[in-house]
Symmetry: none
Subunit: 128 residues, 4 copies
DNA sequence: GTGGTCTAGACCACT
DNA sequence: GTGGTCTAGACCACA
C-alpha cells in the first residue's frame, strides 16, 4: 500500500495518516471503501497494531474516515471532511513553516509569490 | 526581542531558533553582532536556560552564529547562500500536499490565494 | 421499518433496540404484534443476523417483547410503567452536565432552548 | 482529585475526561493551572500512564487544555474551547440519548418540556 | 522533571 | 473476524 521511512523524524503514525490521506485525496481509496483492518495493516507495515489504530483514530478525527464497530474503517464522503477552524489552522501552520523555510533559502517576498503562483497553476493544469 | 507562543505545538527551542534566524536574515541582527547571553535571554523569555542553550547550539550547527568561549555568541557572516535546489524541491512538495488537501476540502483557488496572501502579510508585519 | 446510521458511534444492535422500543412505545407495533423474523429484518437492514438476534434478546431482557419457540417474537403487554424516580434522577443529572458544558462554551439560554426545541421536533417527526 | 468507578461501563479514560472537564467548568481548575502530570495522576488513580495520556489528549482535542513540551498540561482560556460543529454535534447526541431515555420512562412530550424547563431554571438560579 | 511514541500482548464488545 | 481499551514497560525529545 505504501512504505514507511523508519529513519524519518516524523513518527510512524503520522506517516500512516499522511499516506492514507494522500490515497483518499488522490481517489485511490474511493468513498465507502474499507481500509485494511488494523491488524492487517500492522502486519503489512510490521508495526504494532496500536500504532495503526492511533493513525486511524486521527483520520477519523479529521473526518476522512469513519468506523463501524465490528465491521471496519471506511472512507468518509468528501462532504463529511469538515473544514473546521481547527483543521484550517493546522494547515495554515503548515504553510507558515514552509514560508519560513523559503525565507531561510534567501527568497524575497516576490520570489515566494512566484513560487506559489507556479504551484497553483500546476494544480489548474492537472484539473483540466 | 520577540515573543513565544507556548500554546503552539512547536517546541520552545525551535521557536527561539526560528525567531533568531529571521532576525539575522532580516538584518536586524547584523553580522558580528553579539547575541544576548544565554542567561539574559532565558530571563527575558522566562524559559529554561537549557532551552536557550539548545537553540544557540542549533543556530551554531546551522552556521548562523559562532561562539567564542568567554566572550559570547555572535552572528556569523553568511556565506553566499546558494539556492539549495534540493531543499527548494522538498519545500515545494510540502506546498503541493497542503494545496491538495485544501482543494479536497472544497476551497476554491480564490480562497486559497486569499489565505496565502494573509499569511504573507503576517510575515511582513512580523519583520517590521 | 426504520433506518440505521452506520456512521453513528452507537453500535448497530443498540440502534435496532432503540428503534423498536420507540415503535412499541409509539404504538406503531401494538401489543401481541409479531416482529419480523430475525432473518427477514437482517435482510431488510442489510446487517448481520447475529446483530438482530442480539437486539431481540436485549428487548426480551428489558421486557418489551417475548419469544415463542418456533412461532416468533411478539410485543409484550407493558406492565403499567411506574415512573422510575431513580432513573429519572440519573437522566436529569445527564442533562445538567450537558447544560453546564453548553453554558461554559458560551451558549445563551435562548440558544440552548433553540437547540432543545429542534431536538424535540426531530423526535416528533421520527414518530410520525 | 476525583474517583473512578472501575465497574462502570464507561471506559476509564472517558471518566477521566469527564471528571476533569467538570473541574474546569466548575472553576476548581482555573485557567492556566497546570494539571497533574500524566505520571502523577496515573499513580493517584492507579491506572496506566497511557490511559491518563489518552484522556489528556482528548481534552486537548476538545480545547479544554493545552500542552507544552517538557512543561506539562495546562487549562486553556475559555475562549479557546472552540464551539465547533463537531463538538456541538456530540453534545446534541448526548441530548438525543437522554431524550430517548425519558421516552422509555413513558414521558410525554409535554412532561419532557417541563423537566427541561425546570433544569434550565435551576441554572439561572445558580447564576444569580 | 515533562509529554510523546512505540511495542507486546491481554481482554472486551460487536458483527 | 472487526475496532476499542488497557497494562507494563521501554525509549525519545524537550525544559
Amino acid at each position: 500500500m505504501f512504505q514507511l521511512d523508519l529513519r524519518s523524524r516524523r513518527s510512524i503514525y503520522e506517516q500512516v495518516v499522511d499516506n492514507i490521506k494522500e490515497l483518499i485525496i488522490a481517489g485511490v481509496l474511493p468513498v465507502e471503501e474499507r481500509l485494511p483492518s488494523v491488524r492487517d495493516l500492522s502486519k503489512t507495515l510490521t508495526v504494532n497494531p496500536n500504532t495503526v489504530q492511533k493513525a486511524y483514530r486521527e483520520l477519523e478525527y479529521q473526518g476522512f474516515v469513519y468506523t463501524v464497530q465490528g465491521l471496519g474503517t471506511f472512507v468518509a464522503a468528501r462532504e463529511d471532511v469538515k473544514m473546521d477552524e481547527r483543521r484550517l489552522g493546522e494547515i495554515k501552520d503548515g504553510f507558515r513553516v514552509l514560508l519560513r523555510e523559503l525565507g531561510y533559502l534567501g527568497m524575497t517576498k516576490e520570489q515566494i509569490q512566484q513560487v506559489f503562483h507556479d504551484l497553483l497553476s500546476e494544480r489548474s493544469e492537472h484539473n483540466d
